[in-house]
């Protein structure tokens, strides 16, 4: 194994090795898991180093026949759309393992699932065969189900089952759509393949595209989550252990948006264009709705969970603007949201570990007691609301810039979401961190431990770096984003297979 395959399967091998470690050796288990995940991170850095920013196509592609009689192959590769998500995943998992140091119960299984989850996530990001993609896609589900269900809070079983059922609803229909797509491709080209790069050349009639797009989109929209399919998210986030929330927010949700830009949009461009007004509308509704609901929360974790709904709405808005700024901003914002919301969940987890409550009303005046934690919290919060100079601003700005060219009206509404986002975050922050240190329990709080500093330091550094100097990131995203868009634009310009539907699709866009 080499390159991407090594990266993908390293955590799984580590997970298998963990099974051999005796259950009682808790700290050995932790250090072993941390070591494996750090090794994977180093490997991901090597991949970043080998990545050629001037190539828009797939790089480091590995190909192996897997089930030849069905044309199913093992193909992995990475491009500008997935590169940074791979890096983010490899970065977040060791941090999540560090954040799990407070877990004492069933540590072996916990770390086993954590590493298995990493393999699932990395595999999903690099898989280029639709069958392989589906396998990894579902492989993410099971470990997360266990993490929520076993190590979660009070209503963990309800949340875990809801998470699985929601996700499966979409993905099973996507499975049928994948099969249908490959079958149609076979009928047209006489080659049976699930290779995404080959299937992307197929031009289906609009009618079929629409059904297939809907099946893919449902699966991805549930994961994002796009309003109104978001109701599993607050439950899953609130009940999950801290590390589970972090991974869920930082990476799993991105799989939905990644799925759109990697698969749903390039495979079915005409249908994507036709559906985009509705998706943009839902995204903007999600932005405003998520922000307003977040404002009403008195539980910190729920507040952050709803803020995710709002932020992911921005990502969707950017992707469906179908222009370079929008898509670039969308991909960039995926990374930003991964960092900032991941960090917010870490901080909420730290507060919860100390006080065993997450109610905003139980806090106040923390700055006096835990200045370092409060200062870090401040930076993370600013990143989340998109303060210029930090990473969040770059992404949001690009998205709004792109979306404005598409639909000024919706963009205006979405921009109000930025204001709302600042409102609920600042208001929450004021109630938690400023004011008098009224409650005696809060006088005993300890400031950040070295372990906690180690968790947040890399995230803070990246927030500043990505806010000040986004160029190294954007330059690598740009080529691949343009390539994805070319497929959509070709639909507008070229001579498509079915003219009438195309015109009606355009007509509906003009009508907007």
């Amino acid at each position: 194994m080499k390159g991407l395959s090594l990266l993908v399967f390293l955590p799984a091998l580590g997970a298998a090795a963990l099974l051999l470690v005796p259950r009682r050796a808790v700290s050995l288990l932790f250090y072993a898991a941390l070591g494996v995940s750090l090794l994977a991170f180093v490997d991901s850095l090597l991949i970043f180093w080998r990545f050629d920013p001037n190539v828009a196509d797939m790089q480091m592609v590995e190909r192996l026949a897997w089930i030849p009689s069905y044309g199913i192959e093992y193909i992995v590769g990475v491009d500008g759309l997935s590169l940074f998500l791979v890096l983010l995943t490899a970065l977040i998992v060791p941090i999540a393992i560090l954040a799990s140091w407070t877990i004492h119960d069933k540590v072996k299984e916990y770390l086993f699932f954590m590493l298995l989850l990493e393999t699932g996530m990395l595999g999903t990001l690099v898989a280029l065969d639709l069958f392989l993609f589906y396998v990894f896609w579902e492989l993410m589900l099971v470990p997360m189900y266990f993490l929520i269900g076993v190590w979660g809070g009070q209503r963990r079983i309800y949340a875990a089952v809801k998470f699985v059922i929601y996700t499966m609803t979409g993905s099973l229909l996507m499975l049928v759509a994948i099969i249908f797509l490959a079958t149609r491709n076979y009928q047209v080209t006489q080659t049976l393949t699930f290779n995404y790069l080959q299937l992307a050349n197929l031009r289906l009639p609009f009618n079929e595209q629409m059904w297939l797009f809907l099946a893919f989109a449902l699966s991805f929209a549930i994961k994002v989550p796009l309003f109104p399919l978001h109701t599993w998210l607050p439950d899953a986030h609130v009940e999950a252990p801290t590390a589970g929330s972090v991974i869920l927010a930082a990476i799993l949700l991105k799989m939905g948006t990644y799925g759109f830009i990697r698969f749903a949009i390039p495979l079915f461009p005409e249908a994507a264009i036709a559906a985009s007004p509705y998706i943009i509308a839902l995204a903007v509704i999600g932005i405003v709705y998520g922000a307003m609901v977040a404002m009403m929360q008195d539980d910190l974790k729920k507040l952050v969970a709803y803020s995710s709904v709002s932020h992911l709405g921005f990502v969707m808005l950017g992707l469906f603007a179908f222009n370079l700024q929008g898509v670039e901003g969308g991909v960039y914002q995926m990374l930003n949201h991964g960092l900032s919301t991941g960090a917010l969940f870490l901080i909420v987890g730290m507060i919860y570990d100390r006080r065993h409550t997450r109610m905003i009303a139980d806090f106040g005046g923390l700055w006096k007691q835990v200045p370092m934690l409060s200062a870090v919290f401040l930076v993370v919060m600013f990143s989340s609301i998109g303060l210029p100079g930090l990473n969040g601003f770059v992404g949001e700005f690009l998205i709004l810039l792109g979306a404005f060219q598409r639909s000024a009206a919706w963009t205006a509404v979405a921009a109000s979401g930025v204001v709302l986002g600042a409102m609920y975050m600042l208001w929450m922050f004021r109630r938690v961190v400023f004011g008098p240190l009224a409650r005696p329990e809060n006088r005993l709080l300890k400031d950040m431990s070295p372990r906690e500093i180690a968790m947040l330091a890399p995230i803070l550094a990246l927030m500043v770096f990505m806010g000040v100097y986004p160029q190294p990131f954007l330059s690598r995203i740009k080529g691949s984003a343009r390539l994805a868009l070319e497929r959509v634009e070709a639909q507008n310009l070229g001579a498509p297979l079915v003219r009438i539907e195309r015109e009606s699709a355009e007509g509906s866009r003009r009508g907007r």
Binding site: W66, I67, P68, S69, Y70, K106, E109, F131, Y134, V135, E138, L139, L141, V142, Y145, F146, G149, V150, R156, I157, A160, V161, V164, I165, M168, T169, L172, L173, L175, V176, I179, F180, A182, T183, Y186
Partner: protein, 479 residues
């Protein structure tokens, strides 16, 4: 009479093994019963060796009424494997209960003999003979736990319903013979296609009755109502054997008769089978949700899986056949494993059956719970396990044959099934359990059986290519 008896050899070898075990049972003392198991397993292995060695022999026995083609060999190996795992998984169970080991093994072997004949039969009468040999042995197996009332009740029910189904089957055969003058599949198909597209009414009635008889055997809705009580009442190893072996044998019949021999007539029977498939999946899954006993849940889930398998029959063609054969193997591995874990939870004279018996198992018996999770996830269709791969090919066959609706319904049904399969995992890992609850201690044979099933579940999921190729060759051999 021609002299080619070779195709009969595997079945005959199993029969001889059964007789040897029967005699050994009389000669051995109570402590030496392990010998019976090993004799039986050796017999199964030899039969498998013979079958594989003779594969591809095109010449049939008894005027071509018995064929040992690749198709028959494929199913023969499946039956032998199922029997071997069932025997392994039942050793400790039988010692805990008052069931006599020797007789149990003999009956398993006899019914396998019948199954092999079913898979190899190229003639309705011979098929019927195999079916009855299998069924009668299983009726007895069901009632072998004589001290338990529910087992006797189950055996009685199974026997009555089975006799009823046999009646349908035999009447169907009679009508078919009456209209075509032949009992051989090929002869029947030839007569009907010579008729130039029009199907005689009586022949259609015969096919319909045959369909009903076979639907009883695979427990397709609405001919499923006997399943929960019979599966629930029977000793757990017998339930496993019924759910897997008997079902596989019946599907061998479906495949040879409907998928291949009468595929030109599919216009006549496919709509009925399609309705059957939809009903079977949907009802099986919906009823499985409401069960409070895991054993009954598995009974209903076996109904649902019969529905999935019927998708392949509707899809037809080489792809349908390939998917059917592969799924039979997948289903056998994961279902045998699940029942194996159920056996392991047995405590003294009572079977562990409720979800509550699984509570906290995940950290009390990590190995058993991990295996059970694998089987449940596989049955629910999670990749990369074999249940997913199998379903993938089923759906693929359905879509390729233009039955996308069946694939969608199948996918939605899998979703429903996720709900009850995950409940087992919820109980094992997420609920506090009774730390006192025991499991069969020191059960090496049973664990060996479970491990075999678990390895198959994972291996067939990740590396399905060899099994798929074997399935394709077997189906192609029919052509």
């Amino acid at each position: 009479m021609d002299g080619n008896f070779l195709p009969l050899l595997p079945a005959a070898e199993v029969l001889v093994t059964a007789l040897v075990v029967l005699v050994l049972d009389l000669l051995t003392g109570k402590e030496e019963k392990g010998l019976l198991l090993w004799t039986g397993l050796a017999g199964l292995a030899i039969a498998a060796g013979i079958a594989v060695y003779l594969r591809g022999g095109e010449e049939g026995a008894f005027q071509d009424t018995l064929l040992l083609d690749r198709f028959a060999v494929f199913f023969t190996v499946v039956f032998l494997g199922v029997a071997a795992v069932t025997m392994l998984a039942s050793v400790e169970y039988l010692r805990e209960t008052a069931i006599r080991e020797g007789e149990f093994y003999v009956l398993i072997l006899l019914s396998v003999c019948g199954m092999i004949v079913m898979a190899a039969a190229n003639d309705l009468i011979l098929f019927f003979l195999g079916l009855e040999t299998m069924s009668i042995a299983v009726y007895v197996l069901t009632g072998m736990w004589r001290s338990r009332a529910s087992a006797s009740e189950a055996a009685m029910k199974y026997f009555l319903i089975g006799a009823f189904a046999t009646g349908f089957l035999l009447y169907g055969i009679a009508l078919i013979y009456g209209t075509t003058g032949s009992t051989q599949f090929a002869g029947i198909a030839a007569v009907i296609s010579a008729g130039g597209g029009s199907v005689p009414l009586l022949f259609a009635a015969g096919v319909f009755l045959l369909l009903v008889g076979l639907a009883f055997k695979v427990a397709a809705v609405p001919f499923h109502f006997w399943v929960p009580d019979v599966y629930d009442g029977a000793p757990t190893p017998v339930t496993a054997f019924m759910a897997v072996g008997v079902k596989a044998a019946a599907f061998a019949g479906w495949a040879r008769i409907f998928l291949y021999q009468w595929s030109p007539l599919s216009g006549a029977w496919a709509p009925a089978v399609k309705a059957l498939a939809i009903l079977t999946m949907t009802l099986g899954n919906l009823l499985a949700i409401t069960q409070s006993s895991v054993k009954r849940m598995l009974a209903y889930s076996s109904i649902a899986h019969a529905g999935y398998l019927l998708i392949a029959v509707v899809a037809g063609g080489e792809q349908g056949g390939q998917a059917l054969l592969f799924y039979v193997v997948s289903y056998a591995a994961m279902t045998l494993g699940a029942f194996g874990v159920l056996i392991a939870l047995k405590e003294g004279e009572t079977d562990a059956e409720t979800y509550q018996d699984f509570a906290g198992l995940g950290f009390r018996r990590p190995f058993l719970a991990m295996a059970m999770s694998l089987f449940m996830l596989s049955l629910a269709g999670f990749p990369p396990l074999t249940g997913f791969t199998g379903k993938f090919y089923l759906f693929r066959a359905a879509v390729a044959a233009g039955h996308t609706d069946l694939a969608v319904i199948g996918a939605l049904n899998s979703l429903v099934s996720v709900f009850y399969y995950l409940r087992v995992i919820v109980m094992m890992y997420m609920e506090e359990g009774n730390a006192e609850a025991k499991t069969l201690s020191r059960a090496p044979y049973l664990y060996a059986g479970i491990i075999v099933a678990a390895i198959a579940t994972v291996y067939l999921g990740i590396f399905p290519a060899p099994a798929l190729d074997a399935s394709l060759k077997s189906i192609a051999a029919l052509r």
